[in-house]
Symmetry: C2
Subunit: 333 residues, 2 copies
């Protein structure tokens, strides 16, 4: 399988991206990689690395989408950017999947314009995986579609289900709707109507999920509009940092706690790994005619390698085709 | 000052409420308390307690609003409920403040119908305080007004500012708008327009606050619609529980970590206290002609006593009058 990676997107590009790509080649023997970006700079980074050169190709591009570029404008004015070219290659079937750690808005806009939505899909959705007490939960959407209708949320539920079935091997994953009350009649106009549509959708809908239960492990898929999901996604990061920061402060105040922390180093290390976004391989953009992965803006080499792992699973799981079929069925009903 | 407390609302009512009221009388010498509810049951609980009997009065009520009653219906059909009577007493000037740990929706609906909004106030807002790495932040709204207009959010900002100035002694508290991007042009239609209105409002508006920064200590007031705020409020509770639950699991896996945890008992205790909602004295309902405090549904004796502390500060700070004046000024502009 062939995966196209935008070598120039992200806070640590191109270095971390190129190194992550080489690591991916070493780890997955069935993966070929194309890097889009500044050929000279990419070659300089590759020079010191050991990997199978036959499985890596560079496509030189001359433009760069910056983190604060306006999404649609950037896509239109920078057709030879590393991101646009990566998406074009997926659209033209020159690769099965594109990965970028660059400007999220531009990637969503570009993917919608270039790779295009599947027939019947109302809006794309970005779906990352979050750690829970007992495993993981898929959050859909986290910002591809800020303003939603009930129908969009219903479709997100179906996409989330397929993703969790095919990429995690779950049977009838439990789908929850993020809401401000447990009962059916609670919430905003959007969530009240989405509740009814999710009840009728081909998913194992288990009802509303309140803020305090999102990470409890009761849900396999959490459906919400992109505004809510974006706040939740970033808040997990912030909460973990704040809570551990507070604990660190209290440890510093006491000699006995400082000693205790030494003994707990292993446990803290495991917690850190569990809460580490780089472990989860980025967010899939679901609902398109091809695969697109958004890797975290501050992705390091490991994050990119994990995004490649995710992309690989997505391709083998045939997720695009399955979503296409289910959405077509839903439209017929 | 006289504070009216709904003795029958909340998971631990009436026992925890009545005990909390007695504790409040013992702690604050300038506070008189009226308990509304089932006189016989309240007297039974009071019997064993030591407190100044001259400063506590009981108003017998015959109805009870349940946690899952429909808000507006409950208020209309149960005029002699402990909650409705408490609100009526505030509306009639028989007390300066009402406290209830009962059904939040009913309390908001009842307060709006009975105590009534201040002139010019579009919608009420529930505003709790959350712990941050460096202190606290006021979150406004967390569910009194689920669907908002930009104007509502502007008014929330003004109310939040006054609350933080008067009840925490802050100078020019930093007001942030919860949003999905840092830049001015990011977000939903609601937040984009609210951004502009907050820039023009008499507050120290410092811009958009993303999920990862909500608890960083960069903000004194965080403005959002009630849907978003409710998710955030409950998610703090859930996140803390999940993260500490994960850590507990890792500790159990290792003998050295188990030993370390013993030495860290004090630090964990401080963290628990910092994250404990009962310490923060409930959420103020801001924008009404009188004071109303929503205490957490599972309030214990300490939580009720802290709600009395908050109510006391609210009355001394003259917050109702100040909000009235500022909103009138804003309307004239």
């Amino acid at each position: 399988m062939k995966i196209i990676i935008d070598a120039m997107g992200g806070d640590n590009a191109p270095e971390a991206i190129v190194k992550g790509a080489a690591a991916g080649i070493n780890e997955f023997s069935d993966v070929n990689i194309v890097l889009t970006g500044d050929k000279g700079r990419i070659e300089d980074i590759l020079e010191g690395l050991s990997y199978d050169k036959n499985r890596l190709e560079i496509v030189h591009t001359t433009q760069l989408i910056e983190m604060n570029d306006s999404p649609v404008k950037a896509m239109k004015e920078k057709p030879d950017s590393s991101m646009a070219v990566a998406l074009k290659m997926v659209a033209e079937g020159k690769g099965e999947m594109a990965i970028s750690a660059g400007n999220t808005g531009a990637l969503v806009a570009g993917a919608t314009l270039i790779v295009k939505r599947l027939p019947g899909i109302k809006r794309p959705a970005l779906a990352p995986v979050l750690p829970t007490q007992t495993g993981e939960v898929l959050l859909i959407d986290v910002g591809a579609t800020t303003e939603c209708t009930p129908k969009y949320l219903q479709q997100f539920g179906v996409r989330g289900r397929i993703y969790r079935e095919k990429m995690f091997g779950l049977q009838a994953p439990k789908v929850g709707l993020i809401n401000i009350g447990g009962e059916e009649e609670k919430g905003s106009e959007l969530t009240k109507q989405a509740y009814q549509l999710l009840k009728d959708a081909p998913v194992n809908f288990v009802g509303n999920a309140e803020g305090r239960d999102l990470l409890s492990g009761q849900y396999d898929v959490l459906v919400c509009d992109g505004f809510t999901g974006n706040i939740v996604l970033k808040f997990v990061e912030g909460c973990a940092k704040t809570i551990l920061g507070m604990l660190k402060g209290y440890i510093k105040e006491s000699t006995s706690a400082k000693l205790g922390a030494v003994f707990m180093k292993g446990a803290f290390g495991k917690l850190k790994k569990k809460m580490d976004y780089t472990e989860y391989g980025g967010s899939l953009l679901l609902g398109l005619r091809g695969g697109v992965v958004k890797s975290h803006g501050s992705s390091d080499e490991k994050a990119i390698c994990n995004s490649i792992r995710n992309a690989r699973k997505f391709i083998s799981g045939n997720v695009v085709e399955l979503i296409k079929d289910e959405i077509a069925k839903l439209a017929e009903e």
